[in-house]
Symmetry: C2
Subunit: 283 residues, 2 copies
């Protein structure tokens, strides 16, 4: 039962890596890796043998690292936390990661709900409609973004757009729901151009907001109900409809936010019109 018979293990004021491993419940391999990463440097390293020695005072640090890793905090970020001496700064760094975790949790919840819908044996049929949309002048915020950053970017851009338009005060409120335009590359390569916009007869140019003219297109539109990150289910159904009707996609998708975050906090109640520009293959 003796964990290391045949050796004294004095547990003096420094600890061999094996003893430290036992006390922290971190594996020896992992401790070595953390040393290599500069995350948890042993108190002493024997120059001749390379043996690592740890100070008992390092136990709490090791445990903080352990916990952060359990929360899937990347090693470089863990390092930033354990290196910052100020408790407040540490707390702020940790809080930031907790917010990240919450966002991930939201994502998970959305995935679960849309999965339920997908596996529903009696899916509600989706109404897809072909609609000609004329050229349109809007106030827009546009950027090249990574797919993962879309929700955050969307929130910021929408907020700025709303702020500029209401401050502008030229019109009695925006003349219709906000919309978005998303490059296909965003979905195919994980990065692409994204635009959010609001209809505005004489768009201002302030901050990131600028006038933009959306070309006329023919859209296959359907209404997506639920959180935005489940919209690809609806896109898929629209795509299916396109195929059945011998149409082909012709440009970046367009969205119209009929009911969204400014209206209600309940994502299940959001209504987004998604539209895929099309070509007619057969006239």
């Amino acid at each position: 039962m003796d964990p290391h018979p045949g050796r004294g293990c004095t547990l003096a004021d420094v600890l061999a890596i094996g003893d430290f491993s036992r006390l922290t419940h971190l594996s020896v391999r992992t401790l070595r890796r953390y040393h290599e990463a500069g995350l948890l440097v042993p108190a002493r390293v024997d120059a001749a043998t390379g043996y690592r020695s740890y100070d008992p005072d390092q136990i709490p640090t090791a445990q903080v690292i352990h916990r952060l890793r359990e929360l899937d905090v990347p090693l470089p970020d863990v390092r930033r936390v354990v290196e910052s001496p100020d408790p407040e700064e540490r707390a702020a760094l940790v809080a930031r990661h907790l917010r990240r975790l919450e966002a991930e949790l939201d994502r998970t919840r959305a995935a679960v709900s849309s999965l339920r819908r997908l596996l529903d044996p009696e899916p509600a049929p989706l109404a897809v409609e072909l609609r000609a949309v004329g050229e349109q002048t809007v106030a827009a915020v546009a950027a090249e973004v990574d797919a993962g950053d879309v929700p955050a970017w969307y929130a910021g851009a929408m907020a700025e757009l709303a702020a500029v338009l209401t401050a502008d005060g030229a019109d009695a409120g925006p003349g219709g729901p906000a919309g978005g335009v998303y490059d296909n590359a965003l979905f195919e390569e994980g990065r692409g151009r994204a635009v959010v916009h609001r209809p505005c007869p004489d768009p201002p140019r302030r901050g990131r907001v600028h006038p933009l003219t959306l070309p006329a297109v023919e859209l296959a539109v359907a209404t997506h109900v639920g959180p935005h990150d489940a919209s690809d289910v609806t896109y898929g159904e629209v795509g299916r409809w396109l195929v059945d009707n011998a149409l082909t996609v012709a440009g970046p998708v367009r969205e119209t936010y009929l009911v969204g975050p400014p209206d209600t906090d309940d994502p299940a109640a959001w209504r987004t019109e998604v539209g895929w520009p099309v070509f007619r293959v057969v006239p």
Copy 2:
């Protein structure tokens, strides 16, 4: 704006991989990988060129896969889901994964709370006590388990133990709180022997339950308050105390569940006595 100028893209009754990618928002690379993994096999593969063709009916399947992957379901498990034709079986498989996710969420919550405690600038001092424990005969359930499986195994073993002991009826309820014994290898190598037990003067032998004699040891004990998977914080503090008192660890750790799941559902109220067997280095 045409996503693939220079080519007709008929969107006939089969789709080229690029078109399918656009319709499902899965990257071309990922689709190829899913084919290779047998997860989403194209409807047709041209024998001469190797070109993949997808059927529009495969769009929903692709989306289910997409969602499951968002939930970090491993590819082999995803495959099991999409291959099972029975909706009920699929629902059951998915439900199992959702339960796994919930367990992970619990783990995350526990990590967060113990992280807060670790970063608390004013930690409550921990009372560690040295206690001689005599030989003890108990009814036990023992197994060689993986570290990750401990919570699940613990729940099952405790339930069986309780069922057998109350059915046995030889005594008016167990004569004390339940306990556990955990090999150090469990923490160091991620796999080791685990035992849960209840004191019992004449232990029965039924199912996995069997009599066991725990050897007499000298224990450094402290009381851990909170969920079980945060106990290593307390272990670390006990270890620190051991070092300061020139003691060395001598065997598998022991736990006593003073207040646990059978008493209350609130992990924050659980009280576990953790004990580390020790040698005296200096008499």
